[in-house]
């Protein structure tokens, strides 16, 4: 039963656009229709991001009350992994840290929707999200619009693939360091 949704903007670059995107009437209603009761927002460490978040909550007060979603936010946490594991759905920026933390969570794994940061769009950051969407490990809301998020919500009931097993470089490093006789 879906209950908790985590929205995370990452620690490195502010991503106020994602917070604004989630706090729209359409997205909040869609979340409520999915059966979401708790919305956790990691809005970032800058004071500006905090203000953006608080303004968003204030502007959406009527929708939040009518849907009955319990909203609370925080700037940053040391223990993101616990936050992620206790969620049913993670809506994340395209950081590899969050993507891996989510996809490597123990079962039941949260579903993952990745929204790229428009400011970093010309960078390589989102490549990994696109590649993992091709592997059916996550959903990638490429255009970072309300429509793309809501269409991603419609695909959440599909069966997602497991990320391929983590490989070890220990043998290679041991060989190069000369502590292993043979590779």
């Amino acid at each position: 039963m879906p209950c908790k949704v985590l929205v995370t903007t990452g620690a490195t670059y502010p991503f106020d656009g994602l917070v604004k995107l989630v706090f729209t009437q359409r997205v909040l209603k869609a979340l409520s229709n999915l059966g979401v009761t708790h919305l956790r927002i990691q809005y970032g460490k800058t004071p500006k991001s905090r203000i953006v978040y608080e303004n968003c909550v204030e502007n959406c007060q009527t929708v939040i009350q009518s849907t009955g979603i319990n909203v609370n936010g925080f700037g940053m946490t040391e223990d993101m992994a616990t936050e992620i594991r206790s969620s049913w759905l993670v809506i994340s920026h395209a950081g590899t840290g969050t993507i891996l933390d989510t996809l490597r969570s123990p079962s039941p794994k949260p579903r993952l929707i990745v929204v790229p940061n428009a400011i970093l769009m010309d960078g390589h950051q989102a490549e990994v999200a696109a590649a993992m969407e091709d592997m059916n490990c996550l959903l990638y809301a490429k255009s970072a619009t309300e429509d793309s998020i809501i269409s991603a919500f419609d695909k959440l009931d599909r069966q997602f693939a497991e990320l391929p097993e983590k490989k070890s470089l220990a043998d290679l490093i041991n060989y190069e360091a000369g502590v292993l006789r043979q590779l």
């Binding site: 891996l100 490549e127 490989k167």
Partner: protein, 238 residues
């Protein structure tokens, strides 16, 4: 008719002595220094090129490893790779991070506490370039970083350097190459390209691809694209 003149060395020196004009002396000494410089450089480059043909040195009693922690996601990935090593094989472990990135050091020490009795060195080097710094001033900060890297690497003399970017690790690798060229230590270099790189190499990767001993990528498309360069692919390492 040919005129054959035989000049003994003594005579040649006498001639030079008579011509001992300051400008001439200066020119001669400059040429001598330049020839010596080119000679040393050629010897170092030859020694370095030769070192790639050598197998890794054996260290049955344990090796000294240097891990270069980039920052944020780079640190996460590298610590994940390091956590799979048997620390008993690496009695000396040095973590390098760059100024302003205390979080990487903290996380490295966290991993150390989880795995073993901490017996480890952490080094903080100045950054080559901070995000947003102008390119002109970054010339000088890179120079400072370069010198610090050379000193740090010469002091630690690691048997192996493992790094995965970003930019500043290039300088650590070049410093390690200096150790190799001078045969102070045949330091081996392992570079792991970030999982964020799916279709193209990072600038750091493109610089280091021809100088490191092992170059590992995490996506098949990259492995295919750079297979002539000896790139290796094992799957996702994070």
């Amino acid at each position: 008719m040919d005129i054959i003149t035989a000049i003994t060395i003594r005579e040649a020196l006498d001639v030079l002595y008579e011509w001992r004009h300051p400008v001439l002396v200066l020119v001669f000494s400059c040429v001598a220094v330049a020839v010596a410089g080119v000679g040393i450089f050629a010897v170092l480059v030859t020694a370095l090129v030769q070192s790639y043909g050598l197998p890794p040195e054996k260290h049955p009693h344990g090796a000294s490893a240097m891990f270069v922690l980039g920052s944020g996601g780079h640190t996460t990935e590298l610590l994940g790779i390091i956590s799979q090593l048997n620390f008993g094989l690496y009695p000396t472990r040095t973590y390098v991070s760059f100024s302003g990135d205390t979080l990487s050091t903290v996380r490295a020490l966290q991993l150390e506490r989880e795995k073993s009795v901490p017996q480890v060195t952490t080094l903080e080097l100045p950054r080559a370039r901070t995000v947003g710094q102008s390119y002109f001033t970054s010339i000088f900060t890179s120079a400072v970083c370069g010198f610090e890297c050379v000193f740090a690497v010469a002091k630690v003399r690691p048997d192996i350097v493992v790094c995965n970017g970003p930019g500043s690790c290039v300088l650590v690798c070049f410093a390690a190459l200096l150790l190799r060229a001078t045969r102070i230590k045949l330091t081996r270099l392992v570079y792991v390209e970030s999982i964020a790189r799916v279709n193209s190499l990072s600038l750091t990767g493109r610089i280091l691809i021809s100088v490191v001993d092992r170059f590992i990528v995490q996506w098949p498309a990259l492995a295919e694209q750079y297979k002539d360069k000896g790139v290796e692919y094992f799957g996702i390492l994070a």
